[in-house]
Amino acid sequence: MLALQILIDGFAISALYGLGAIGFTLIFGVSGVLNLSHGGIMVIAAIAAWAIAGDLHAGTYIGSAAGVLIGLIAALVTYGLVVRPIQRSRAIPRDETEIFVLTGTLLWGIMIQEAVAYFFTDNPVTVVPLISGVATIGGVRVPYNEIMIAAICWSVIGLLWLLVNRTRAGRALLAASINPRGLTLLGFELSSIYLLVWTIYGVLAGLAGVLLATFLGAGSANIGQLTASAFSIVVLGGLGSVSGSLLAAYVVGYLETLTAYLVAPTLRTIPSLLLLVIVVYLRPQGLLGRR
């Protein structure tokens, strides 16, 4: 009974973590960018969905869709306004681009957080679930919304897999993550590849944000936490490795749920943090990462 409960509860939250992290790792894999405004973009999507669904009385469906769209826009703005200029800048030495991208996106994240808090307070908000009500699985009560979230996450992940492995654009994307120069020599414009990957990222982050808002609720106060958790999950799984991030998401998700159930809710995050430290020391490239 308890085991089943843990199994079920851990599943949806892990799927959500995964969805949030995949885009993050994808960008790193393809363009070597760690986007520390990640949490901000998720929350923008969440708040937008809430505001449009609620204040503008557009209803949950339109609201959620709009939220994802706005998340996408936010991601593209981040790329165009912060990341691309830094990558292009002649003044910034190549080997220091990394720290500049980190600082730049950090600052951008802070700006997003302050702006969101200014217009919508820092209170978390929630979007009405697309489906309400609960199902009972083996005596465990599960909200339909939770089931749907898991379903959406996995179908999106499936679609992503198809995109990467079955479409021409996807192959190019994969190739870029392996050898960008080689791709240039084959006549592919890297700039358009980057645009594509940021678009995919935007959709994923937006979706994750909106789902988060229907499931747990989200607000500007969560931004730092969201970024940190995505970052840790991605590093745990191996920077740039999509499957690794998924695995890590589930490890972290279940570790947290287990701790909350079996040890103490106050210690919830500790074990995953320790695990992270251990992994980074013993296997810096992460669970499925390659060096």
């Binding site: 307070t121 209170n123 929630t126 747990l216 607000g219």
Partner: protein
């Protein structure tokens, strides 16, 4: 600029202020210098903005009545982003730059505790309208000479717990025949005394405490908590939450936890809570110091209506106390006939003011909770409201109740018809 030079010297506040008044007095002879009150709070937070708004509202009402002894009240607000370091700088600015007579600050215990030594150092009265930690008044009690400048203008955690117990006794046990509960609190400093007291007084009130769960304030997924609680089969969940509020409530509803929630839930005290939770708050019982539509005192409804008219939402729990704090400071200044800090403190200690949610008075230096609000009949009491279709309906104390208990369909009560 001589004013500034003096301001740099020891006892900056007092001398600077004195000199300032002395120097500029002639210029303002026609219109006596206003009484400045600093308000430090984070306006991005629902709890914080309530303080700022209420202070402005109260000041304007006083000024409309001609101010205090001909002197206008001037509110100077500072946003501290709920950071204690930021708050300390704001406090310094308030005292040394803007020469305020007193400061009303924050609803966050961490911030208030960081300000307490500065109130002592800069010898400026400090009142918090919202922080709950017992530490605040304990510090005053332990080192009165130094910390006497700090006043705890909100109920200490212990009193809040007592209030919840009283309500549980009258309604949950008395009306709904409940016999057991699980105490669920965020793991924060203010909830430690809260839980200590409630673990002791809940059984006395007739509720057996089956379990006591504390969770990390940055928890976002509450499913495990609710499942753990449900496994214990209590009749009710006694909450002690402030950092969190929207998230547990929403998940409680979406998971259809069949146990009612009752107790402290700071975020649930404003109308925006209904919007933020998309109505998931339906049936949640919240202990509040006042409700917009209940005449705890003759001042409650006028204040709440004015506030709602001006700011679009009902005042958060700290709003009522912030408004009262402006008034008691003003009165203290008037009685003291000056803004001299020590005189102000003396007068504030003498406070006996009927405010928006009860009679405001502070415990003396020999009481356990020095400078904390007096709690109990005749002073401040709290009331319990239930969220029903976007409105807060008052259910307790019964003499001011204006509605009936109802719960969402997924709630299972001990005796189904007890509510009727």
């Amino acid at each position: 600029m001589s004013q500034r030079f003096l301001a740099g010297a020891p006892f900056a506040a007092l001398l600077g202020l004195a000199a300032g008044t002395a120097l500029v007095a002639p210029a303002w002879a026609a219109d006596p210098e206003p009484i400045r009150i600093g308000v430090i709070a984070e306006n991005q937070a629902i709890g914080g903005v309530a303080i700022t708004n209420a202070a402005h509202l109260a000041a304007d009402e006083l000024n409309a009545k001609g101010g205090v002894g001909g002197r206008k009240i001037e509110i100077i607000e500072y946003d501290d982003h709920s950071s204690s370091a930021d708050a300390v700088r704001a406090f310094q600015r308030a005292v040394n730059q803007d020469h305020v007579a007193a400061v009303i600050a924050s609803y966050i215990s961490e911030v208030v505790l960081a300000l307490e030594p500065w109130a002592a150092r800069l010898k400026t009265p400090l009142i918090t309208p919202g922080a709950a930690s017992n530490e605040i008044s304990r510090a005053v009690h332990d080192d009165y000479a130094r910390n006497k400048y700090t006043f705890h203008g909100y109920l200490t955690s212990s009193f809040l717990a007592q209030a919840v117990c009283d309500f549980s006794h009258d309604i949950l046990v008395g009306k709904l025949h409940m016999t057991s509960t699980v105490v669920m609190s965020e793991d924060a400093a203010w909830t430690t005394p809260l839980d200590d007291t409630s673990l002791q007084c809940l059984p006395e009130a007739g509720l057996k405490v089956l379990d006591h769960i504390r969770f990390s304030p940055d928890t976002t997924d509450f499913t495990p908590l609710f499942n753990q609680i449900e496994a214990k089969h209590p009749d009710v969940i006694t909450t002690g939450i402030s950092h969190v509020g929207v998230q547990p409530t929403v998940q409680w509803a979406s998971q259809q936890v069949p146990i009612p929630m009752a107790g402290i839930s700071s975020q649930a005290t404003t109308t925006s809570f209904w919007r933020d939770t998309n109505g998931a708050a339906q049936g949640v019982l919240v202990d509040e110091n006042a409700a917009p539509d209940v005449a705890v005192t003759p001042k409650t409804i006028p204040f709440a209506t004015a506030y709602a008219k001006r700011f679009g939402i009902t005042p958060g729990y700290a709003g009522y106390s912030a408004a009262d704090d402006v008034n008691i400071i003003a009165e203290a200044v008037q009685r003291a006939g000056s803004t001299d800090a020590d005189k102000l403190v003396e007068e504030l200690e003498k406070t006996d003011y009927v405010g928006t949610y009860g009679k405001v008075a502070f415990y003396g230096r020999n009481d356990q909770y020095t400078h904390a609000l007096k709690y109990g009949p005749g002073y401040i009491t709290t009331l319990v409201v239930q969220w029903q279709d976007g409105k807060q309906v008052t259910l307790w104390p019964e003499n001011i109740a204006n509605g009936k208990l109802t719960f969402p369909s997924f709630i299972k009560l001990p005796q189904p018809h007890a509510a009727q």
